[in-house]
């Protein structure tokens, strides 16, 4: 029963990946749409970033003094200047750990 549901979810997910690549030809999209599509990374990823920072495990908005906000700010600054993915992730995590294990402990 669960396996059937997994297979349906898998087929649906595959279709989300395949539809625009295999079934739509680029000529069907006008120049205006192509220009808007330039913004896809900036328009999609904050929907993963913001809830990941500002919403806790119970689905409610966190306090403004939550260590995640500080960690995210450090990651933004380090990422902006270093242009390095590993440095960005590590800086965010380490500053977050510093707050939860050292400062707030």
């Amino acid at each position: 029963m669960t396996l059937t549901a997994i297979i349906f979810a898998g087929i649906l997910t595959y279709f989300t990946r395949m539809t625009m690549i295999a079934l739509i030809s680029r000529d069907m999209l006008g120049n205006k749409i192509k220009a808007v599509l330039e913004y896809v990374p900036s328009a999609v990823f904050p929907a993963i970033i913001f809830p990941g920072i500002f919403i806790n495990d119970f689905g409610t908005i966190i306090d403004m003094n939550d260590p995640k906000i500080f960690g995210a700010l450090v990651a933004v600054i380090v990422g902006y200047f270093s242009k390095n993915i590993i440095a960005t992730i590590s800086a965010g995590l380490v500053s977050y750990w510093f707050l939860i294990f050292v400062v707030f402990n």
Binding site: A22, I33, F45, P46, I48, F54, Y80
Partner: protein, 228 residues
Amino acid sequence: MLSKKQLFTRGMLDISPHMLSVIPFGIICGAIGVELGFHPYLVYAMSFIIFGGASQIVFLQLLSGGASSLVAVASVGIINSRHLLYGAVLSEYLEKLSFIKKLLISYVVVDQGFAESNKFFKKNRSEEFLHYHLIGTGCTMWVCWQIATLSGIVLGSFVPEELGLKFAIPLTFIAIVVQDLKKLDHVIVMITCGLSSLLFFDAPFKSYIIISPIIALFVAALLLRLKK
């Protein structure tokens, strides 16, 4: 002109830093599935059949919370509908491929792979075998995701929960978009998307994940009109 192998390797190298967040997250996903009481084979089958990060956890959480299969399947579809946008962007670079190749390559399109390959494509439009970069990012992600979720299933949550490693996921995406903070139009689009995602977080079927990009793209279209 780079060879197929060089492009594939470049793709692998470009996505590998993201494994710092993907691997712990995969381990957590695998462990949660087993903790929720699902058969290990089923939990692993999802990594192979769905191959879709957070949507796998949501699926199992919904089922274990008593939701119907229909609701769980619909939620996975809606969470993963963002791939439609990635496909629309990538289609320009994959146009020349045969239909079969397009069908095969689609299976490995993932968030971080799309982001890194799209950056590479923009700078190297003239390369003949561009799609090998996407295969490189996608296959690296696939292999790491399978190994990570399997380890979580077999070994349990050996990553200490206190470390809060789920936080590495927003960080990995910060690393992807952070350079676009230099451009005001992109900043406006990002803030629109981010605030909308918080505003619509409680919308049914986790639909905030596609509602907020659509709102942000509308704002992008308005900005383009103003720029002219």
